[in-house]
């Protein structure tokens, strides 16, 4: 690669008009991704961002990288297809919580099992934003956000625990309005070799009138001593928690899984953000493909020539046909 000018935020801004509601947490996620790419100095054309459908789904349009706004619930299969076809791409996928954990739950679970080297971000706002505020799978039972005619009767899904059980090897939670912290998580997620999942708490000021910015800031939890709000959100790394798996030993892995899952149930007056779990030892899907198909890393599908310059196929099928030849 030729020496390049240093990339700045401007390089990652597209010309599309951002049409999220004022005060939406999605703005924070957008900047965090852009900042992470600036920090990592990845050229825009080497990045592809996939999204599903929802307010969150519009995100790729606002970033100047390849942006593929797919179908509701399906960003993961699309993203995995692109990444495996061209592993040199930096692939990020984003979903809403309905997108990723409702209609997309089957892909969520089965993608964990593959551990493809992508970064997957869920905009966790507790509602189906773009369809006007129905309960999303993360909304707690009994809650009744603005648009619900009746309180929610579904138990919420626990995205962190689900991701760990599904096999994601990097599992973290961020907060949309702590952009710097989120940026760091995204950077680590991109740098992590394997499937990184980041659940991002994202206030939706329009429809989620319960889990608001103020709520996360603990404005209803006044510390009797200081008279100040006690923020719900705190950072795992500042609390001495370490979710990093230190060795391949089953015992170590399971103990870290357990610790992380126990932690993931903490969600009320205190809400942890940061890395819950990271296992650098599980081989990526790309490595596993290589074990069956040794030329894959040098010549992944997108890099393979398939014809000569005179348009003839270059695949030799004589030996394949010969297996069926009648002798």
């Amino acid at each position: 690669m030729a020496t390049q000018q240093k990339l700045t935020m401007a390089n990652f801004r597209s010309t599309a008009n951002i049409d999220w509601c004022p005060g939406c947490g999605d703005f924070g996620i957008l900047s965090a991704i852009q900042m992470a790419l600036v920090d990592l100095q990845i050229e825009p054309h080497r990045v592809v961002i996939f999204s599903g459908i929802g307010c969150s789904g519009k995100l790729p349009h606002f970033i100047n990288t390849y942006g593929i706004h797919t179908l509701h619930g399906r960003p993961l299969p699309f993203a995995i297809g692109a990444k495996l076809a061209n592993p040199e791409l930096t692939v990020i996928a984003v979903s809403g919580d309905g997108d990723g954990l409702g209609i997309g739950a089957g892909h969520f679970v089965n993608s964990g099992r593959r551990n493809v080297d992508i970064t997957y971000i869920i905009h966790d706002n507790g509602v189906y934003g773009l369809t006007k505020g129905q309960a999303s799978p993360t909304l707690r039972r009994g809650m009744r956000t603005k648009s619900l005619p009746k309180p929610n009767i579904n138990e919420p899904v626990n995205p962190i625990a689900l991701a760990i059980i599904a096999g994601y090897t990097f599992v973290a939670r961020g907060y949309a309005f702590d952009t710097k912290h989120l940026k760091e998580l995204i950077k680590k997620g991109i740098e992590h070799k394997g499937a990184a999942f980041i659940d991002v708490l994202q206030p939706c000021p329009t429809y989620n009138d319960i889990m608001t910015k103020e709520w996360y800031a603990g404005e209803d939890l006044i510390d009797s001593a200081t008279g100040k709000p006690r923020p719900r959100i705190y950072k795992l790394e500042e609390s001495g928690y370490d979710g990093e798996v230190k060795s391949e030993e089953e015992e170590e892995v399971i103990s870290k899984i357990n610790m992380a899952i126990a932690k993931s149930y903490e969600f009320g007056d205190r809400i942890p953000i940061g890395i819950f779990y990271r296992n650098p030892f599980t081989p990526t899907y790309e490595e596993r493909i290589t074990s069956n198909s040794p030329t894959y890393p040098q010549l992944p599908p997108a890099k393979q020539p398939i014809r000569s310059k005179s348009m003839e196929p270059i695949t030799i099928i004589d030996d394949l046909i010969d297996e069926f030849r009648v002798k």
Binding site: Y66, G81, A82, A85, N86, N110, R307, L320, V326
Partner: protein, 659 residues
């Protein structure tokens, strides 16, 4: 095009038995052996959606000229269980023969739970009508009374003998060879050359030499037994033939697999489903293959360093469902790779939404769709052509797509390559329709039929820098915009399932909307203009005839064979529609507008291609020959039905043969 009328020989053999007892592999051995002896061969497999225990059978037709279908008559039925004889004895013709297990003649119909009540009643009725009881012996007697020869084989005794020779005393281990013995008995009765059978065994069991050797011993024993126990005057025989071109013996799923590799498909997704899975498992097995690194290679524009290797590879992913399969293939296709997914009815239903996204975003993706008995789970292992209209109209809204259907295995080979060419040239999803009859049949194909072909990739842009920002969906005269793979320098773009502007950003402006609809849908016109007529419609038979057959897909073989058997006095034009969408309305209209009779032959209930014909030309078929019982047409059926149409002008004939 003239139909072969100088065939001298056509011999129909059938083997049956319970799933899991080697019916399939023995049929392959037989077919290979016959091919090795110089015959052209066509084999059809019938089996239940079951792993072990249910009845399956294989019909193999051998001939001195290429053969493309089965016939109703069975000349020799090879069996080693009772059910096969109960089910198929009546299909054996006068002068034909039945090979069966001598020890089973006392088996009673009522004790065979896997025969459906309706069929059991039918068989019982036939026996009763002839004053017979319900044992296997009764069935055999009835056959004998119709002039069928009986060949009882004492399999157990013979196996014990084999056991002694090879030093294996466990009968259960030996029993696995009973299927081979039925084949060997056939060879003995047919006075055929055992060395071909041995080649068949080696072919079928590949590396497993020990098994081959054991089986050869078993063949010898049964061959001797037949020769010394039955007179040598069976009216049919399989002498060695010479003069045939070199052939391969292959099934539809394998030839499509080979074609995908040849076409440069490097990414295949699938979710297991019958009968599509066989193709995928084949590709998984051939994950690495040779490429001609010495030719003047054209590397994709995003390959910054040109790695030269003589091995290529295909990534084959078994996904969690068909929704993931189609969308993952689309994701891969976006990187510039030729990508496809293979499926059957239920899986295809789940792809409706993904297909629409590909249409909206002009992504070249190929769906290889093997139709099977439907609707719903239907008849998973049986044949049908019931998904045509659904394929043409899959998905909400309107987007361009191409639907092509192959008439036989060689067409399947070339159509697979064309599917990718169309997909890339026109940037549309392509649905390649095949079916169970092509997938699971085996046929001898001339090696010379695999000829050179070309790979057309359409307008691909490289990394070149241009003055204006790249517009992925640039409005052009043809509606086709130069395509850049993800990762191309200077060609950043966006995709969205929403209506979008030329850059790919969401755009709800009504004027833009109308333009974009016209851009996309207009490509159908370009396709109609550019694709040669012969790739859209194939004309067989007598073009000057007033009587036309309209059909599509795998009925081709049985129709061609039927036309040959009909002989002079019955002249038909046969219009095989190969591209079903965009429908070749003009071509078809010009030919059919003056036809007196248009006989629509299809394997579905509603005459779906006939309905497309009317929708696109206003012309209606005059007669229908349909079949939807899950079994492919035999050429006999089509011959008989055509005669009936010509004689009595019957409007709708529904055939129902095949077990």
């Amino acid at each position: 095009m003239a139909l072969i009328r100088n065939r001298k020989f056509l011999f129909s053999w059938m083997i049956g038995g319970a799933q899991g007892t080697g019916v399939d592999s023995s049929a392959n051995v037989y077919a290979y052996a016959a091919a090795s002896a110089g015959y052209y061969v066509y084999g059809k497999r019938e089996y239940y959606s079951n792993i072990k225990g249910r009845h399956s059978y294989f019909s193999v037709v051998a001939s001195d000229a290429p053969v493309n279908s089965i016939i109703d008559d069975v000349h020799l039925l090879a069996s080693f269980d009772a059910e096969t004889v109960f089910r198929h004895a009546s299909e054996v013709v006068h002068g034909g023969g039945i090979i069966y297990d001598k020890d089973l003649v006392g088996e009673r119909l009522k004790n065979i739970p896997t025969i459906e009540t309706r069929l059991a009643n039918e068989i019982r009725g036939e026996l009763e009508k002839n004053g017979l009881g319900d044992t296997l012996m009764d069935v055999l007697k009835l056959a004998e009374s119709r002039g069928v020869r009986l060949f009882p084989i004492p399999y157990i005794d013979l196996l014990k003998k084999v056991g002694e020779i090879i030093g294996q005393s466990q009968l259960s281990a030996l029993m696995r060879m009973v299927n081979t013995m039925a084949v060997a008995a056939s060879f003995a009765i047919l006075n055929a050359d055992l060395t071909h059978l041995y080649k068949g065994l080696s072919y079928s069991f590949r590396a497993k030499k020990k098994i081959v050797d054991m089986n050869i011993k078993a063949c010898e024993v049964v061959y001797d037994y037949v020769k010394s126990n039955f007179s040598n005057d069976f009216p049919y025989s399989l002498p060695n033939l010479t003069g045939r071109e070199e052939v391969m013996l292959i099934s539809g799923t394998s030839i499509v697999g080979i074609a995908k590799l040849y076409a440069g498909c490097r990414f295949q997704t699938y979710y297991p489903i019958t009968p599509a899975a066989d193709e995928c498992v084949y590709l998984e097995d051939k994950m690495t293959f040779n490429i001609d690194a010495s030719s003047d290679l054209e590397y994709p524009s995003i390959a910054e360093t040109k790695t030269i290797m003589d091995k290529g590879n295909i990534v084959v992913i078994q996904t969690e469902d068909e929704i993931a399969a189609i969308n993952m293939a689309i994701g891969a296709a976006l990187t510039g790779v030729r990508a496809s997914t293979s499926t059957s009815g239920p899986g295809f239903s789940l792809m409706a939404e993904g297909l629409g996204w590909a249409g909206m975003n002009e992504v070249p993706v190929v769906v290889t769709h093997y139709q099977r008995g439907a609707p719903s789970t239907g008849l998973p292992t049986r044949h049908e052509q019931g998904d045509l209209l659904f394929s043409v109209f899959t998905g909400h809204g309107e987007f361009p797509r191409i639907v092509i259907a192959s008439g036989d295995m060689i067409e399947a080979f070339y159509d697979t390559i064309k599917a990718f060419n169309y997909a890339e040239k026109y940037q549309v999803p392509v649905i390649h329709l095949l079916d169970k009859a092509i997938a699971n049949s085996t046929q001898t194909l001339k090696l010379s039929d695999i000829k050179e072909t070309i790979i057309e990739r359409g307008e691909l842009v490289g990394d070149s820098l241009s003055d204006e920002p790249y517009r992925r969906f640039k409005i052009t005269e043809t509606g086709i915009s130069p395509r850049a793979p993800l990762g191309s320098r200077n060609h950043i773009y966006w995709n969205t399932g929403d209506e979008h502007d030329e850059y790919g950003h969401i755009d709800e402006d009504p004027v833009n909307r109308t333009r974009m609809m016209e851009k996309r849908m207009g490509k159908l016109r370009i396709i109609e203009e550019e694709v040669p007529d012969k790739d859209r419609v194939a004309i067989h038979g007598e073009e000057s005839s007033e009587n036309w057959i309209l059909s599509w897909g795998s009925t081709k073989g049985a129709i061609l064979d039927a036309l040959e058997f009909l002989g002079n006095g019955y002249e038909f034009g046969f219009m095989q529609v190969k591209m079903l969408h965009p429908f070749p309305g003009k071509i078809v209209y010009n030919i059919l507008k003056n036809a007196k009779r248009i006989i629509d032959i299809e394997q579905n209930y509603s005459g779906q291609a006939g309905r497309l014909l009317t929708m696109n030309t206003g012309i209606r078929p005059t007669n229908y020959i349909l079949k939807y019982n899950g079994r492919p047409f035999s050429s006999t059926e089509i011959r008989d039905a055509l005669i009936e149409v010509m004689k009595r002008d019957t409007k709708r004939i529904v055939m129902n043969r095949g077990g």
